[in-house]
């Protein structure tokens, strides 16, 4: 799968400045990628362009081998009238069902699965939401702060598991967290303000996987590179 | 006052603010010419039964006696007696049954004069469609009634006298317009012989329909009709006003009903009652004269004590009032016979 953006410029109606100015980027291949940048720089805007939610921009986005891009964010909620498991069963396509129990276990949701969504803690809500997205068909899943309320250890566990369970899918992980992004992602797109050119800089992350041995030195270097690029 | 007055403009503005209301006050006083103002609430809308009231006002009888009288029309929502007690009106017109019912409940009412010497209330019906040979024939009929009006009291007395219960007749609530009777929805329609009877009768004649009147009077239910009333307090605290009012009013009525003044009376009435055509009014006046004056010699407005006692007796026996009312205490001295 490949997604390439060329000469993208965009300004919100009634806004004073441009969000993107002649921006280029390229996401290719399966795995965990990241979109990194300071608050308000336009990460969510770019994500919306990738899903097609925003169309009125200059430039083009070329797709190759991409049938469906899904976007999820941490404020999403499940409908309140059924419990979480009932909802999962309703929205899981036949292909995804086998993975459902595995995901539930990995994400630590066995106890909370029979509850209604509003009774879960924020962290549990984040996880429940992510599970249902993972059960869908997609080539690229954009996760916009989707695990923001989950503790660090569980987050790590989840990311590693997702990479292992879905080796042929692509993910775009939007986050502020330098360490996390440097450690787990393969390609890190650093988005900068429109005053800087190029607006997107691609940095190589460590792409840490389950069972692999961590390399603190390389990790530190990757982190510095990202921070320097921002 | 602190410091200097300021600009000349400020001073003249202050003077203007003081002078202005004084001028208005003087102007208003001048307009009133020192007339005492009172409210007079009639029993129903302006019609021929109120010609004397309107005549007295329009021809200046009240003004000549130092009064400015607001002659206000009545209606189904209005009750002159309640307005008197609450002080919204100083004089009013009510029928005997209304007065007796109020007096039985302790209302401090006094009757000053009696307008109708013969009760004008009848029910009109179509003899071709409605069989009415005996009073019992009222059973099963649709009878129009003005709830709260004297026709309600008279009808109840009539029904009670002939042993007819309310569920044996169908009562239809009457307000202002006669359409339900014209359309045949109601068999018996209440009216005053001198007023609506002329209007409705003429319309039925034009349509080629026969009509007849059911008279409660003829069936033994004799009630006193419209009378002029005031409160005991008025009589005690403002006797001069009452005297002047009554004198002017009775004189006005007498002159209004005088055939010599018919044209003027018609003019006054038409100015207030826009609904009735002149031709009809001219037919209504003679009937009104007949019902309000027993003989040319007698004074207008005399109170017929015997008739009042009879009304009280009927109402008491038919349980329309909870207990006896001492009629004599109600009727103002000096105007009774």
């Amino acid at each position: 799968m490949q997604l390439e953006g060329r000469h993208i410029s965009f300004r919100y109606p009634n806004a004073s400045g441009e969000v993107f100015s002649d921006l280029h980027f390229r996401i290719a291949g399966a795995g965990f990628h990241a979109l990194f940048g300071p608050s308000g720089v336009g990460k969510t805007t770019l994500a919306k362009m990738l899903t097609g939610a925003i169309r009125g921009f200059e430039g083009e986005i070329l797709e190759n081998g991409v049938r469906r891009v899904l976007y999820t964010y941490n404020l999403e909620r499940l409908p309140g009238w059924s419990n979480v498991r009932a909802h999962f069963e309703e929205i899981a396509p036949p292909a995804g069902r086998s993975r459902m129990d595995e995901l539930i276990e990995t994400f630590g949701m066995e106890a909370s699965i029979t509850a209604r969504f509003h009774r879960l803690s924020l962290g549990q809500q984040n996880r429940a939401n992510l599970i249902r997205y993972l059960l869908q068909d997609f080539e690229l899943l954009i996760m916009d702060e989707s695990l923001a309320n989950v503790d660090e250890l569980t987050r790590e566990k989840i990311i590693l598991k997702v990479k292992a369970m879905f080796p042929d899918r692509s993910f775009l992980y939007i986050s502020h967290n330098v360490a996390e992004v440097a450690k787990f992602c393969s390609q890190v797109l650093v988005l900068r303000s429109p005053a800087k050119a190029p607006q997107v800089v691609s940095v190589q992350g460590r792409d840490h996987r389950e069972g692999a041995a961590p390399d603190p030195g390389m990790l530190e270097r990757a982190m510095l590179e990202i921070v320097h690029a921002a | 006052m602190a410091g200097s007055v300021g600009t000349d403009w400020g001073t003249s503005m202050k003077r203007a603010w003081i002078l202005f209301p004084i001028l208005i006050f003087l102007f208003a006083c001048g307009q009133k010419e020192n007339l005492e103002e009172v409210n007079y609430r009639l029993k129903w809308l302006y019609n021929v039964s109120t010609v004397g009231d309107l005549y007295a006002e329009a021809q200046g009888y009240f003004a000549r006696h130092g009064l400015r009288v607001n002659v206000k029309p009545g209606g189904p929502e209005r009750d002159a007696l309640k307005e008197l007690e609450l002080g919204h009106a100083q004089f009013g017109v009510a029928s005997a049954d209304q007065v007796l019912r109020a007096a039985a409940k302790g209302a401090p009412i006094v009757v000053l004069a009696q307008l109708f010497q013969v009760n004008p209330l009848n029910w009109i019906y179509r003899p071709d469609q409605t069989l009415f040979a005996t009073p019992e024939d009222l059973k099963g009929k649709r009878i129009g009634v003005t709830f709260g009006g004297n026709d309600e009291a008279i009808l109840r007395a009539l029904l009670a006298r002939y042993g007819i219960t309310e569920d044996q007749v169908s009562l239809f609530s009457v307000r202002y317009d006669y359409t339900p009777f014209y359309e045949g929805k109601v068999d018996f329609w209440p009216l005053y012989l001198n007023a609506q009877a002329v209007i409705i009768g003429e319309k039925l004649e034009k349509a080629g329909e026969k009509y007849a009147f059911m008279s409660p009077d003829a069936l033994g239910v004799r009630f006193v009709a419209n009378s002029v009333v005031t409160t005991r307090e008025m009589l005690e605290k403002r006797p001069e006003t009452v005297k002047r009012f009554l004198t002017a009013l009775l004189q006005g009525w007498q002159d209004a009903l005088d055939p010599k003044n018919e044209d003027q009376a018609v003019k006054v009435l038409l100015a207030a009652d826009r609904e009735t055509p002149e031709a009809v009014v001219r037919r209504q006046l003679p009937v009104t004269r007949q019902l309000m004056t027993t003989s040319p010699a007698s004074e207008f407005g005399k109170i017929d004590t015997a008739a009042w006692q009879q009304t009280e007796e009927i109402m008491r026996t038919q349980k329309l009032i909870p207990g006896p009312v001492a009629v004599e205490t109600l009727l103002a001295p000096g105007n009774t016979e």
């Binding site: 899904l70 909620r77 499940l78 409908p79 309140g80 | 929502e77 007690e85 209302a107 709260g148």
Partner: protein, 249 residues
Amino acid sequence: MLHRRIYQFFIIYFLGVGLLLALKYGLSLSDYVIPSPGEIWRTGRTYAGPYLLAVLNTLAVAVLGHIVSICLATMVAILGRLTAWVGSFIRTAAFNIQAYPIVAVAPIIFILLGDGLASRLLIAAMICYFPLLLSFIGVFSEPVREIEHFFESTGRMTWRLQVKIRAFENIQKLTTVIVGSATMAMVGTIVAEFIAATAGIGYSIRIALYQSDLAKILVALFLIGIGTSLYLVSLEWIGNALQARLKRT
């Protein structure tokens, strides 16, 4: 033991009657103008039966009209979701029409449709319709992005699901406006009856007014208050039961 609404009504009613009696004795008004407590009681005993029937009659019409109104408002509000244009048109029309006093149109309706049930039902429905409609349109036109986004992006959204989501999220608001409009339906029906009908408690009150019988009016008001309170209590109970059932884990 008695519902709080009934208590509230009793307090207000007896305060009102107390005020009237205070006025009576303070201004020394006769029993003709303001009846004595004894007379009010006696009138109550005589007329409680027929007036109760009249209140039930009116209540039935009001409830039926209210239900018709709710169904109609639901349908129109769901249709109003379709396009922004339709939605805003309906909203503007509703805003403008609701300012018009429906009861002023009541006599015309009675002339056209007669004195019967149809007229009273129509007026009851019309009176509570517009507030219901505006509230429902507001609820059904406003997307609940956090929930709807998933279904939209995975192609699972249907109009039924969308309505269900929006209704569920706003159940509190919907219940409130339904309970509020219930009172309007009752009041409106009574006023319409007062103006032009020949049945119901509004008609009874008009007759009592013509007869200047304040005792009868007080009895009628008492029964109306009880009837309306009971209706509102039932509605709130239904609303709570619904919410509890939906929230049960």
